[in-house]
């Protein structure tokens, strides 16, 4: 039961390791960026899982009589992750533009084909 109840976190761990492995093991620079992005997405999922309150609803203010005893999920991790998503997008954009320039300078984006001791 607990193992199943922690399903989100298992998914996070699996995604994180998939991303991390791709990042380390792949020689293709674009695949490295994909691995990095999967890794960062896992972190985002982890935060969103933190925010879940059992039985809680979306954190949008309920008004009137229905407001009595409403349980909200925690909105703060969501807000934090909006920032993290922006950072992730910026990192991805910068990383990919570096890949484009590496391709122009070296004619390849395979790590082991990049010459002159740059790696």
């Amino acid at each position: 039961m607990t193992a199943l109840g922690l399903f989100n976190y298992w998914a996070v761990i699996v995604l994180m390791m998939v991303g991390f492995y791709t990042l380390i093991a792949r020689g293709n620079l674009v695949k490295k960026m994909i691995g990095l992005n999967i890794f960062q997405t896992a972190v985002i999922m982890m935060y969103v899982s933190f925010a879940k309150v059992t039985g809680g609803t979306a954190p949008i203010l309920v008004e009137g009589e229905a407001a009595e005893g409403v349980l909200y999920s925690n909105p703060l991790p969501h807000v934090l992750m909006l920032t993290a998503i922006v950072v992730g997008v910026a990192t991805l954009a910068l990383g990919l533009s570096l890949v484009v320039r590496i391709k122009e300078a070296y004619g390849t984006i395979e790590e082991d084909e990049i010459q002159d001791g740059a790696w």
């Binding site: 890794f39 991790p77 993290a84 950072v87 990383g95 320039r101 300078a105 740059a118």
Partner: protein, 491 residues
């Protein structure tokens, strides 16, 4: 304005960055960057004076009371770091004009200065903020702009260096976010002062050591502690000279500050050193960093690369000081933070002058430079003496404190390592000096001394490294007080 100074310190450069990008012309962007750097120098020095006179400042961002809103909490430790960053920025920027004009193409100049200001903003932000998630945001602002500045180097290897740094830096930052998230889920707060109160209540839970570990690994990646330094040598070697001078003397220093802040303020010295036994990890690593990286530095043929490896060794000294966990040790770490910023800034700037005039910083190209570029090479020798730790230089002051701290703990072998590290520094500095002064210059090449606008900033740092080496009372008293606030708990 006086009340809002903590926010303005960060906000003014942040707003000037897009201005620099929009003015389009390199010279105008440089003027904007100069304004941003000098403003932050003024603001941080004013804050330092206020903190020394009135004690820590707590600033509520947007009027939201902490711990709900973001708090900028400024005490002696972080204002000192902010002054270092702003000082190096203000000295580097006049230097950057000619150096960057030579090394970066004109159409990219304005964007370069925008990135420079953003990097400064991020580093200042990390220093002054009292909110752990804010730390991550500023860390990424400074890192992303640093990657793009490094990629502007002339050599195509700058691109792969920047890419490598981006990958490792992002992993480090993600580790920091995981650590922050785990702390948040246990305590429900992101405010550093609030965390410091709430963490001990839940310290028995296994999540807290995990958060601590993620944060430690993430930050040590950012500060390039051996063996997580792999991104640093190439990044420093192939970045434009002014960028190397700026980043080498600020980015890793701010990461060291983060380490101090998390170990001592957020988790508390007792948890870090008695429960997690941090010294048993950090001390061996920093000893290996000092010995191995100094040894590697001796065999480098590219002087910027030599200095980069020496930087990793010097970071070892700072972390060694922290790993003692005593007031004296942390004082040594903080003093060395300041001193290393001065001397490495001066050394990298001298190399930038060589790059400007000679077009290369390989040792064999520097034959006889002592005669044709006397001022540049004299600055290099000055910085080098400091790196070795000759008396009357700042390097001596930091090593004096470090050795004292080691002896206080009865660790004779560690004190020995500090001295052996100095000897090795003497070897690699001598390698350059020998070629520059004892060989005769190549008569076919006419090499001229670097322009004054580059020599003067270099010499300001060299002079400062001698001044604070002879009269260390200011830095020593600030560092001691800072160490006492850190170890004594909350400021």
């Amino acid at each position: 304005m006086r009340d809002n100074l903590p926010a303005l310190l960060v906000v003014v450069p942040l707003l000037l960055a897009p201005v620099a990008a929009l003015v389009g012309r390199s010279k105008a962007a440089w003027a904007v960057a100069t304004a941003a750097c000098w403003w932050s120098l003024y603001a941080s020095v004013a804050l330092l004076q206020r903190v020394r006179a009135e004690g820590p400042i707590s600033y509520e961002m947007g009027g939201w009371t902490p711990p709900y809103g973001i708090e900028y909490r400024i005490d002696l430790v972080n204002v000192f770091v902010a002054v270092i960053v702003a000082l190096i920025g203000a000295v580097t920027i006049p230097y950057a004009r000619k150096s960057i004009a030579k090394e970066v193409s004109e159409d990219r100049g304005a964007l370069f200065y925008a990135a420079f200001i953003l990097c400064l903003t991020g580093l200042l932000g990390i220093a002054v903020t009292g909110d752990v998630f804010n730390v991550f945001v500023f860390l990424e602002i400074s890192s992303l702009s640093a990657y793009s500045m490094i990629a502007l180097g002339q050599d195509r290897r700058a691109l792969t260096a920047a890419f490598h740094y981006l990958i490792m830096g992002s992993v480090g930052a993600s580790f920091i976010v995981i650590g922050i998230g785990l702390m948040y889920v246990m305590t429900g707060t992101l405010n550093m002062a609030d965390l410091a109160v709430r963490l001990p209540e839940v310290a028995d839970n296994r999540t807290i050591p995990v958060a601590f570990t993620f944060l430690t690994v993430g930050i040590t990646l950012k500060l390039a502690l051996f063996p997580l330094h792999l991104w640093l040598p190439n990044a420093y070697t192939y970045a434009p000279s002014a960028v190397t001078a700026f980043i080498a003397s600020t980015a890793t220093k701010v990461a060291v500050y983060l380490l101090l802040r998390f170990f001592f303020t957020v988790f508390g010295a007792e948890f870090s050193f008695e429960v997690m036994e941090l010294d048993r990890v950090l001390m061996p690593l920093s000893v290996v960093a000092i010995l191995a990286m100094s040894l590697v530095a001796i065999y480098q043929a590219n002087v910027k690369r030599l200095l980069a490896f020496s930087s990793v060794a010097q970071i070892g000294y700072m972390v060694l000081g922290i790993s003692f966990g005593s007031v004296l040790g942390v004082t040594a770490g903080i003093i060395h933070l300041f001193n290393h910023a001065l001397m490495k800034g001066a050394l990298f700037m001298a190399m930038g002058c060589v790059m400007y005039s000679v077009g290369s910083v390989r040792i064999e190209k520097m034959a006889g430079l002592g005669k044709v570029m006397p001022w540049t090479m004299a600055a290099f020798v000055g910085g080098g003496l400091s790196l070795i730790g000759v008396p009357a230089t700042v390097g001596f002051v930091s090593k004096w404190y470090l050795v004292q701290a080691a002896l206080e703990r009865g660790l004779w072998p560690v004190a020995g390592v500090v001295l052996v590290g100095s000897l090795m520094a003497a070897i690699y500095i001598w390698k350059v000096v020998e070629v520059a002064y004892l060989q005769s210059p190549d008569p076919d090449h006419e090499i001229r001394e670097a322009p004054l606008s580059m020599l003067i900033p270099t010499w300001i740092l060299v002079a400062a490294s001698f001044y604070f080496g002879i009269d260390a009372s200011l830095t020593a008293s600030v560092a001691t007080q800072a160490a006492e606030t850190l170890i004594g708990g909350l400021p």
